[in-house]
């Protein structure tokens, strides 16, 4: 996700759905040369409290819709490890609905 949207995950997903068992994982692609220092400074600015990890090459292995669209990219995975939602931008209403389906 671009920096504009990334902090929104805190309020849009992590705060409402974290207590219900949803895990949010920010996956740093490092695709623009970010190092640990850059990433730490960025996270300090954004104040997010969910888990942030480095990608290990999985980013390019998903069938993202609208392949020409830039970041963000989101994959929602259910308890069985199956992808239930893929998006190439942060669409909070859609994402919320996709999460709620998994919590029903």
């Amino acid at each position: 996700m671009c920096s504009l949207e990334f902090p929104d995950l805190e309020t849009d997903v992590w705060e409402p759905f974290g207590p219900q068992g949803v895990t949010v994982v920010g996956v740093a692609t490092g695709g623009f040369g970010e190092d640990a220092e850059t990433l730490a400074a960025f996270l300090e600015q954004t104040n997010v409290t969910f888990l942030v990890v480095w990608d290990d090459g999985t980013y390019g292995q998903y069938a993202w819709p609208d392949a020409l669209s830039p970041f963000p990219r989101q994959a929602l995975v259910d308890r069985d490890g199956v992808v239930t939602y893929l998006a190439s931008e942060h669409r909070p209403a859609e994402l919320r609905e996709a999460v709620e389906v998994l919590l029903d």
């Binding site: 895990t23 990890v53 990219r73 239930t84």
Partner: protein
């Protein structure tokens, strides 16, 4: 507004692209060339003009001053246009402050003083740097902007406003108060810390109102500008990113929650009246005449009425204009009576809102339908939702498919949706179709704005798709702790949010 210089990098990194989303219907898709269906309705929000800048100008803040509209551009710097004839925007001048890069000025936010003589523009020093400088521009001759000076600050300035002889700056976790002197003089008087994630600030009388994405609406007493103090905080659902004051009420852009209406009957104790949901993420808000509220909602514009009687009602939406680029987003917004000015990643657009018009307004979700993998012999299916966000009944006269292998279940032509009504349906791909597919579906309606609403459809793309097993990778946290996806999913659903720091 947040730092968005990096967004340009998103675009540059991927290059220009085209697609048909939310009304953008290039010739290569969406059945272009067909005659637009007739509609008995008149569009309440009508595009008037678009400025003539180059692509990817990365427009951010927009402000109106008399018959001039100002905007910050990451690429072009500070710009001023005349809208004496709103349908023919005329550029008066633009300037790139001397402290920044002339090629990439990174103008972020702006504020115009009461008499239009001086404009303050915040600029980012570099993409990674969070320190900014505030340029002071002499605007007395708008066709010949002159830089009076600049103040370097060790802050990430996210929003500014002029209030009398003060300049107020929302700086992430704080509010900084400057005294405006003659010329370029700016003297820091005070610094209030303890805010969560301040995006912008407005002021009225002795009070400043801060849009705090983490803390809602924060009221700050600035009667003594050398010693500001928090009066109260109003919890608001969502991440508050912009606000506008209108007498004894305020409207807030509350991110994913939509637009919030707040009563300032007691200006020191604001009360949340209502929150109207929007499908995108409300980033900017402006107030027009007659109680109109204009909202930039990330992927489109939203117009509401009812500010005057404290009862917001949606009137309709306006997609990003054709040619804005499929990556473009609706960011800044400003209002002047029945005119509204919207910035997106590529351009400034002027619109007129006709309060006496009513019409249906079709919204389709998702923006791109991705058909999941299907078992052998079964059709691939995905759910889509149509919603009438307008004020008159919507009639769907036909559905057109880019490929004959697509169909929609249980949605006969002639279906009508009442204002506010939604209809869910299933989009289906015939069994046995395994080729990669990028195509479209058009909904032909009497929406006067988009008689053919295009939905992109993709199927059988390379890689792991919906309905397939996610990659059970082991990711390393920043402290080196391994986290395997399958261990995380044992605790519940997992959202993998891929991001970069730009």
């Amino acid at each position: 507004m947040r730092p968005m210089i990096p967004l340009l990098m998103c675009l540059l990194a991927l290059g220009a692209s085209s697609g048909c989303k939310d009304g953008q219907q290039p010739s290569s898709a969406c059945g272009a060339g067909k005659t637009e269906p007739a509609s008995p309705w008149m569009d309440p929000v009508t595009l008037l003009d678009r400025y003539d800048g180059p692509s990817f100008s990365e427009l951010l803040d927009v402000e109106v001053d008399g018959t001039r509209v100002w905007f910050c551009s990451g690429v072009l710097g500070l710009n001023v246009y005349s809208f004496e004839t709103p349908s023919a925007l005329v550029r008066l001048d633009r300037i790139a402050p001397s402290l920044g890069s002339q090629q990439y000025p990174r103008c972020q936010h702006l504020a115009v003083d009461a008499d239009g003589e001086r404009v303050y523009a915040t600029n980012r020093s570099s993409t990674i740097s969070r320190s900014d400088f505030i340029a002071v521009i002499d605007a007395s001759a708008p066709t010949s902007l002159t830089e009076l000076g600049s103040l370097e600050v060790e802050d990430s300035v996210e929003g500014i406003t002029v209030h009398g002889d003060l300049l107020l700056a929302a700086v992430h976790t704080g509010l900084v108060v400057y005294r405006r002197g003659a010329g370029a003089e700016l003297t820091e008087l005070s610094r209030l810390e303890g805010l969560g994630n301040a995006w912008t600030v407005r002021a009225q009388g002795d009070l400043a109102y801060v849009a705090d994405a983490d803390g809602g609406l924060v009221v700050v007493d600035i009667a003594d500008p050398a010693a500001p103090s928090v009066v109260t905080r109003l919890d608001v659902p969502g991440a508050v990113k912009d606000l506008e004051l209108a007498g004894d009420r305020a409207v807030l852009a509350a991110g994913a929650s939509g637009v919030a209406l707040v009563s300032l009957a007691d200006p020191r104790a604001p009360g949340l009246v209502e929150v109207e949901d929007t499908p995108g993420s409300a980033l900017g808000v402006a107030v027009g005449s007659g109680g109109a509220v204009y909202v930039s909602d990330w992927t489109d514009l939203r117009v509401f009425v009812g500010l005057d009687d404290l009862d917001l009602r949606p009137v309709g939406s306006e997609p990003l204009p054709q040619g804005a680029g499929s990556e473009s987003r609706s960011l800044g917004i400003a209002g002047s009576g029945d005119l509204l000015f919207s910035s997106n990643w590529t351009e400034l657009v002027s619109y007129r809102f006709f309060a006496d018009r009513s019409a249906p307004d079709l919204n389709v979700a998702p923006r791109v339908a991705l058909l999941p993998a299907a078992a052998d012999g079964e059709a691939a299916r995905t759910r889509i939702t149509l919603r009438n966000a307008g004020t008159e009944p919507l009639s769907v006269s036909a559905v057109e498919f880019g490929e004959s292998v697509l169909s929609i279940e249980d949605f006969p032509a002639g279906t009508s949706l009442a204002p506010g009504e939604s209809e869910r349906m299933v989009l289906q791909l015939d069994a046995g179709v395994t080729d990669e597919l990028s195509t479209w579906v058009n909904f032909v309606t009497d929406d006067p704005d988009e008689g053919r609403k295009c939905l992109l459809v993709e199927a059988n793309q390379d890689g792991v798709g919906v309905g397939e097993a996610a990659i059970d990778a082991t990711y390393l946290a920043l402290d080196g702790t391994p986290h395997r996806l399958s261990e995380l999913t044992e605790q519940g659903p997992v959202l993998l949010a891929y991001f970069a720091t730009f």
